[in-house]
Symmetry: C2
Subunit: 350 residues, 2 copies
C-alpha cells in the first residue's frame, strides 16, 4: 500500500489545483463545530475552483466517535445525492479524520477523500498510515479499514487556533517518534525553550517522516509498524477509562503516562537501561503535569488492555523502547509485571 | 485485486486441510436460523481439525441486513475475545455472506474470513467479486467494502435444503450471465427440462467462470464489470419497493422483472433487436410467473433508481444487453424512456 502524498505549508493552492484537475460530481466538507468556525473559512477564502459544496457538521469529541455518528453521516450523504464520484474533505482533528475516512471508505463501497488535519496530534499521527475507524462501546478504534486518502494537506496556521493543552497532546506523539526511532528528534523536542505552535512547526515534518518510513515498511502492521504502539497499550486503557469520567484525558496526555509506565516495564524486563528509563521519565516530567494512578482502577485497566486490537488471546503484547531511539515489539508481559510497572510509576511520582 | 480461490464439490476436506495448515486463535461460524440447522451440522461432521469454535446466529432475511445487525455482531466478536488472528466462516445465503464479509473486513480493521454460500443465488453471484455490505434504510448495499475472502467453498449438496422458489431466484442470475456474456449458457439453461438443484448443479461453475472473468478484468467496477448490473437498476428498485410490503420478492424474482423491462428499454433505444427482445421475454415467461407493475408505484421506483450506487447525479445509468450474449454499459436513460419500458412490459404481460 502506497502512502498518500502529504503537502505541508500553505495548502489552499494545492487543493485548488486538485479541484481544477478533477471533476467531482459533488464535494462534501466534514467539520466539527470548532473547525467549522476556525478552519473552514480560512480554507474556503482561497479556493477559486470550488463552486458548490455541502457541509456536514458533527460534534467534536472522542465520545462521538461511534457507529451512530457515522450512520447519520451515511444518511446525509445519501439524502444529499452523494455518488461514487463524490469527494469528501475531512477538516478536523484525529477523531474527525478517522471517522470521515471510515465514512468515505464504506459509503457505496468507497468514495474519494482528502484529509486536512487541524490539530498537532492529527497532523503528526493520524495523517500517515491509512488507518481510519470508530470506537465500539469505548473500545478505541475497534472498527475501521485501511484506506488511503487521495492526499493529506497540513497547514501549520491551523495550530494557532488550538489551546496549549491540545498542542501538548500532539507533542506526546512527536516525542514518541523520537523515542522509538530517532534520538536526535527526542533531544531536539525536549530541549526546545518553548513548546508552542510556532516553535514546534519546524519539527512536524520530521515526525511525519519517521512515521511514514515505519508505516511504509509494514503497511498492514504485521511487524515493525507495531513500534508505533509504544505507550499505547497502557495509554489507550487509561484513555478509555478516563473517557468514562467527568475529566477525560486527551489522547496525548494518556499516552505520556502510558509511555512512562511502559518504560518502567521495559526496565523491569531488562531490555531498557535504568539510565535511559530515567532520561525518559525526566524528559516527560519537564513537560507534563503528572499524577498517580489509583490502583483500584487496575483490574478495569487490565480489562481494557485485554480488548486492545494488538493482543492475541490471553496475552498482552507490548512494543517497548529498548534504548532511546530504538524499540522492540511483540514483547509479551503478564499481569504481575504490568502491575509492578504501575506501582513503580506511582512511587516515582509520589 | 486477485479473486479468492473457489472450490466446488465436497468442501469439508478442503476446509479441514486449511484449518490444519493455519493456526487461528479462534474460529467463528456465522449462520442464520436455517443454515444453523440444515447446513452447519453437515459441515461440522466432516471437520477433524476443528477443536473449539463459536457460533454467531443472525435472523435470516434482507430486512436484517442493517448496521444494527452488524453492530451486534461486532460486540459479540469483542466479547468473545476475537482478535486479529481470528477466522470467520460465513455459512449462508448472500445476505449473510455480504454482512459477514463486511463485519470481518471492518472488525479490528479486518480479520480473515471464508465464505460458504448455501443458496444457489449466493453460489453463482455473491461468491465472486469481493463485494460485501449492508443496506441503508432500504437502499441496497449502500454501505460496504471491496474485500476478498480467503476462499469460497461451494457444495451443491446444500442446495437440496432449499425451496424451489429459492432455486428459481438463483437461476435468474445464471440466466443473466448467459444474456450478458454467453449465448450457449442462456440456451442450455432455458432448454433444461427440469430446473431443480440436481439439474442446475452442472452449470454452476459455468456461471461462476463468466462472472469471475468479468470481475477480474475490472475489479473496482470502473467499466466492464458494470455489465453484471443488467436488470439490476430496475430490479433493485422493484426489490426495495417490495421489501416494504407484506409480500417481498426474492432478489432473483425482482431481477427477472428488471431484466425484461430493461430488454424493452434496450429495444426502444434501438440497441437490441426485436427478435432478441422477444426471445428474452419468452425465455423468462417459460420459467417464471410474471405479473404487471402498478404504475402508481412508478414515482417511488424512480426515487429508488436515483439512489442506486451506479448513478452519478441527475442521470440513470443502465447496463443493457445489445444482443443475447453481449451487453453495453453506461447507457444513460431518462425518466420518459424508463416509463415507456414499464408500460411495454405491462402491455406484454396483460
Amino acid at each position: 500500500m502506497k502512502s498518500a502524498p502529504i503537502y505541508f505549508g500553505h495548502i489552499a493552492p494545492i487543493l485548488d489545483q486538485y479541484l481544477k484537475e478533477n471533476s467531482f460530481s459533488s464535494i462534501f466538507f466534514l467539520v466539527d463545530e470548532n473547525t467549522h468556525v476556525h478552519c473552514l473559512p480560512l480554507l474556503l477564502a482561497d479556493l477559486d475552483n470550488l463552486s458548490t459544496y455541502e457541509i456536514l457538521e458533527i460534534d467534536a469529541g472522542e465520545e462521538n466517535k461511534t457507529i451512530d455518528t457515522v450512520n447519520n453521516l451515511w444518511l446525509s450523504l445519501a439524502e444529499l445525492g452523494a455518488d461514487r464520484n463524490t469527494l469528501v474533505i475531512n477538516v478536523g482533528g484525529g477523531v474527525l479524520t478517522d471517522m470521515g475516512g471510515f465514512m468515505a471508505s464504506t459509503f457505496k463501497r468507497g468514495v474519494q477523500f482528502i484529509n486536512i488535519p487541524t490539530t498537532l496530534l492529527a497532523q503528526v499521527d493520524a495523517s500517515v498510515g491509512g488507518k481510519n475507524g470508530i470506537d465500539l462501546e469505548g473500545m478505541k478504534n475497534m472498527i475501521g479499514t485501511f484506506t488511503q486518502p487521495e492526499m493529506v494537506l497540513i497547514d501549520p496556521k491551523f495550530l494557532k487556533t488550538l489551546e496549549q493543552r491540545q498542542i501538548k497532546s500532539g507533542l506526546a506523539e512527536m516525542l514518541k517518534h523520537g523515542l522509538i526511532q530517532d534520538r536526535d528528534h527526542w533531544d531536539n523536542l525536549v530541549q526546545l525553550l518553548a513548546h508552542n505552535a510556532d516553535d514546534l512547526a519546524p519539527f512536524i515534518m520530521d515526525s511525519i517522516e519517521i512515521k511514514k518510513q515505519v508505516v511504509e515498511s509494514d503497511p498492514l502492521e504485521k511487524g515493525l509498524r507495531k513500534i508505533l504502539n509504544f505507550g499505547h497499550t497502557i495509554g489507550h486503557a487509561i484513555e478509555s477509562e478516563s473517557l468514562e469520567t467527568e475529566f477525560p484525558l486527551l489522547h496525548g496526555e494518556a499516552i505520556v503516562i502510558g509511555m512512562i509506565i511502559e518504560a518502567f516495564l521495559a526496565e523491569n524486563k531488562g531490555i531498557l537501561s535504568t539510565e535511559d528509563r530515567e532520561e525518559i521519565c525526566e524528559g516527560f516530567a519537564s513537560l507534563y503535569a503528572l499524577s498517580t494512578i489509583d490502583m483500584n482502577l487496575f483490574p478495569s485497566l487490565m480489562e481494557w488492555m485485554r480488548h486492545d486490537k494488538k493482543n492475541e488471546k490471553n496475552s498482552i503484547n507490548f512494543s517497548l523502547v529498548n534504548k532511546i531511539g530504538k524499540c522492540s515489539y511483540n514483547v509479551i508481559c503478564d499481569e504481575a509485571e504490568i502491575k509492578t510497572a504501575f506501582e513503580k510509576y506511582n512511587n516515582w511520582i509520589g
